[in-house]
């Protein structure tokens, strides 16, 4: 079961702030502040305000610590506080990420990247690795963390981390796992997605006919996953049940989803099978919904493959219009949104939706929250490398 939530994203620093923004449509998107975007054709992003981060830069603007580390430590600490985790038992940590800690490479002065790398550059490069980010977050949580893993699951990393946590709880190798995803706003990532033609000019409009890409974001979210009896014995509050996980690979292309959504559908089916749930039990799908042409149509194709035969298939909505795409943090932030929806009964809509797209023929809950009282929700994530990860979350029965 899930007993603690922590989040730090452009919409807020606690689950309640995140939920309020998702339901009101308050977006965390604006002009990029972290670096000069003049060389790029797009200039919007979804950044966490610097004042939310503990002294991330010195007076000259140079980084004092990694931005991803700052985000991750804040969310991980908040999740443990929320769960009233006393540190009395063994705790595993699984950190999902796309870029690791890009702060150091992002701020390299001109010429530092030129080969052969200097010792300083090599050291800073090593600090960029996902394992270093995970270790820094673990260090901030000392001494409670035992085993620590870095899951490089790209844009599905949060769900991958949750799936690993579920596997460890079920296998008995852990009784409590703090799992989530982290990515800091990055010039490297901005440049990369820009060159791939994936960035929206002004706004992210998932599933809308006029969508033109994603808005790069950042953030961190962690969820404390505990074995049920262990959680109950320490008096923890059950917020939701993490009941299933499915991973697949498209085996198709390094960046583009399979156009038929076959891999995504397989991950969705695997997650439902793992949860012991049939498709007709799902009440809401928290979609990956990046706002790119290719992703959204492939995702709807996957939904049609799994739910299309139902008389009343579950609606699906994407929160990325207001959160931005937090990369490795995205599906962890969305998992927090899923837990909030399970507890409140109200699911967030797809904001910024303007026109139906025949290629996205699905109820995407445009622009207005819906009271669905969901019992079972699905959280979807697809990533570079064709890596798909889906988790199933359920309302805890009193």
């Amino acid at each position: 079961m899930i007993t603690g939530l922590g989040v730090c994203c452009p919409l807020g620093r606690c689950p309640a702030d995140l939920e309020a923004a998702l339901l009101s449509g308050r977006a965390g998107v604006g002009p990029v502040r972290s670096f000069d975007t003049d060389p790029f054709p797009t200039h919007v992003g979804a950044e966490v305000p610097d004042e939310w981060l503990p002294a991330a830069r010195d007076a000259s603007g140079a980084p004092l610590r990694g931005r991803a580390e700052s985000l991750g430590v804040q969310a991980a600490t908040a999740a443990l506080t929320h769960a009233r985790w006393s540190g009395g038992g063994a705790l595993d940590l699984v950190v999902g990420t796309t870029m690791g800690e890009p702060t150091w490479v992002d701020t390299w002065p001109a010429g530092r990247a030129a080969p052969p790398l200097s010792d300083v550059a090599a050291q800073e490069l090593l600090l960029s690795a996902p394992e270093h980010l995970a270790d820094r977050i673990a260090s901030a949580l000392d001494p409670v963390v035992g085993r620590c893993s870095a899951a490089a699951g790209a844009c599905a990393a949060g769900n991958v981390a949750l799936g690993m946590a579920l596997g460890r709880i079920r296998s008995g190798s852990a009784q409590a796992v703090l799992a989530g995803g982290v990515d800091g706003f990055s010039r490297i990532a901005f440049a990369g997605f820009s060159r791939l033609g994936a960035l929206a000019a002004h706004a992210c409009r998932p599933f809308s006919a006029d969508r033109d890409g994603l808005v790069l974001g950042e953030g961190a979210a962690f969820l404390l996953v505990e074995e049920e009896q262990a959680a109950r014995s320490r008096g923890a509050t059950a917020l939701a049940c993490l009941s299933g996980s499915g991973w697949t690979c498209d085996a198709y292309h390094p960046t583009s989803p399979h156009p038929t959504g076959a891999g995504a559908a397989a991950a969705l089916a695997a997650a439902l099978r793992d949860a012991g749930r049939l498709p007709d039990t799902v009440d809401w799908v928290c979609a990956h919904g990046t706002g790119t042409k290719a992703n959204d149509s492939a995702e709807v194709a996957a939904l049609q493959a799994v739910f299309g035969h139902l008389a009343a298939p579950p609606p699906a909505s994407s929160i990325k219009a207001v959160t931005g795409h937090g990369l490795g943090a995205a599906s962890a932030i969305e998992a927090v949104a899923c837990v909030a929806a399970l507890r409140s009964g109200v699911v967030p809509p797809t904001w910024n939706h303007r026109a139906a797209d025949p290629a996205c023929n699905w109820d995407v809950l445009p622009n207005a929250p819906a009271r669905l009282d969901p019992q079972v929700v699905v959280n979807q994530a697809y990533a570079f490398g064709g890596c798909n990860a889906v988790v199933v979350l359920e309302r805890v029965q009193p």
Binding site: G100, A122, A138, C387
Partner: protein, 278 residues
Amino acid sequence: MHRFADVHVTGAGTVGLDPDGHPVADDELAAAITVRGARPLARAARLALAASLRALADEQRLPDEPDPRAAVVLGTRGASLLPLAEFAHVADAQGPTRVFPMSFPNTVASVHAGYLCTLLRRSGPVLTLCGPGAGLEALLEAALIVATGAADDVLAVETDEAVPGLVDGVGEGAAAVRLGRGAGWAPGAGGEASPRHPPLLRVRSIATGGGPDELRLGPDGPGAAPTLQGGLSDVARLAAPGRLTVTGRLGVRGSASVLLEPGPPGVDAQPRRRPSVR
């Protein structure tokens, strides 16, 4: 608690791992990669592909369609670091709008696993782990995937190219261990040996801990010193004809001990084709 007794090593392969720290010769690497489409791969991914192909040496040919019951778990420390440095260098020298778009994916570690899945026709679970013990963690996660039934055939792969300061004193290289289900080999469960995936070793037990002090060693004690950081290469080398206990760091923090022993009685536990070991 999952039982790992049904999980078998059905193939293994290595490339590189020169104890003197020499890099893998380009012609050796090219010769080891017998599939098309490897050109966009970063060097670490090419090393992983070469080791994987050696682990799959018993296959007559790869399937035409991706196999949803076949999976990949990749462990690495720095597979994306030099691609990241290269991306940063081009962006710096030529401008961020002049970077070759498809160089960006290689800065993301999961892409290397995705390439392996694509080229080896595997569409089951895929996972990428980073850290000094990522190789051993990949083996553990792969065993878990088999034990839970999420896939029947899993490649656990560890790879790293020579990044300055990353793999001190160890040559670059990759190790791949193929794990499969052993149900077809168990007495009374059909009995006939699968002609496709003969087991080399059986996973007897896996012990994990939060740190070295918590580690419960297998009955045979620690195995050979890991040549690559994670210790997966020990398994891939199949150095011991009998039991083999691989002990080492796990992921970013933690430790594990994996005890392997020869396959079930009555089955030839020796590989039909000895994996290529340099």
